[in-house]
Subunit: 204 residues, 2 copies
């Protein structure tokens, strides 16, 4: 059964075990989905309210976008498990097998693809949360701050799962390209998430 | 049904809705449980390994502590919902009711207690993750970094749910005491979580 169809309790329990998946990548995707949903909640508490009629359309559009992003992040929990499997298997190939290096390299590139996508999706979510924090219901603004903090944690966690894989890639050009992309996202979006959080914090 | 017994998907869906709970507090507790479990996983991948025989006992003890902390954080998801209910009801009391102020104040203090406990539990978890990061299996060190990032996000999120409540407390002495305690935890443990993450990041 897909991990996201299991109960939260069970997810946490299996995560804590020595089972190969879910690992840091899957946990990052779930935390990103939770962060995105926290922004979405601000939208849910804003739409249909007279006081916020002038942003009704924008909130509806951002809610639809959040729905899609949180759905995608939940799917990425499962995909991370699927894409990690070939790598776990490749480690088991005897060291004198002439195909080992090639298979290991391919599996490493595959294992890297999902955390990269988790990062990209979290960046989109942080952009959306920014607007929820600025224009959404004042009564729910703290939830936008929580959302920003959670999506930043997801972004950071996914990045470690990129870097651990790029480190062992033989194709250094590809590895450096991925590292640069990941570092660019970290620089821009950790700062943005911090800004959102600080702006929310200033309300209290 | 308790929220943590529901599927991860369902939790995220209800979180995104306009339902009063789970809110930022419950989400913080779940993200804290996920972070704690990521540390616990490092322990699970360390115990019983010859290479780490000299830290076997310490790892076993820290795993038992992580089990308790992640269990407590999952319980706090439910407790946050229970302790928020009186506040949601108190807001509904007519403004001219002479008991309104007293009931609202009591409900605010109650609503504050769970995020405070979430913060304290996340601080304990970050202390545990520090040792997992330093002494646990090198193969799983990235998961300790993810755990630190997630517990920090949970700590920050819970703090907003403390501050939103202390802001409206009539008893300013009590409010300032809670704020000081929360700020002290933020100062010490956000810095520690950042240190852990940076030390892990330096491996890649």
């Amino acid at each position: 059964m897909e991990f996201t169809k299991r109960s939260c309790e069970e997810f946490v329990e299996v995560l804590a075990s020595n089972a190969p998946v879910p690992g840091g990548g899957g946990a990052a995707a779930l935390v990103g989905a939770i962060g995105t949903a926290l922004g979405n909640m601000v939208g849910s508490l804003t739409v249909g309210k007279k006081k916020y009629a002038d942003v009704e359309e924008e909130m509806q559009a951002l809610k639809a976008k959040s729905d899609a992003l949180q759905r995608k992040l939940l799917d990425l929990v499962a995909q991370d498990a699927v894409c990690f499997e070939p790598l776990a298997k490749a480690y088991g190939i005897p060291k004198d097998d002439p195909d080992r290096d090639r298979i290991l390299e391919e599996a490493t590139v595959t294992a890297c693809s999902v955390p990269m996508e988790i990062m990209e999706t979290c960046c989109e979510a942080i952009d959306v949360i920014k607007t929820f924090a600025e224009k959404g219901s004042r009564l729910a603004v703290s939830d936008a701050g929580c959302g920003a903090a959670c999506c930043k944690a997801a972004l950071l966690s996914a990045s470690l799962n990129v870097f651990i894989n790029t480190k062992s890639m033989k194709n250094r050009e590809k590895a450096e390209e991925l590292n640069e992309k990941a570092n660019g996202m970290l620089d821009q979006y950790c700062a943005l998430a911090d800004e959102i959080f600080a702006a929310v914090r200033a309300n209290f």
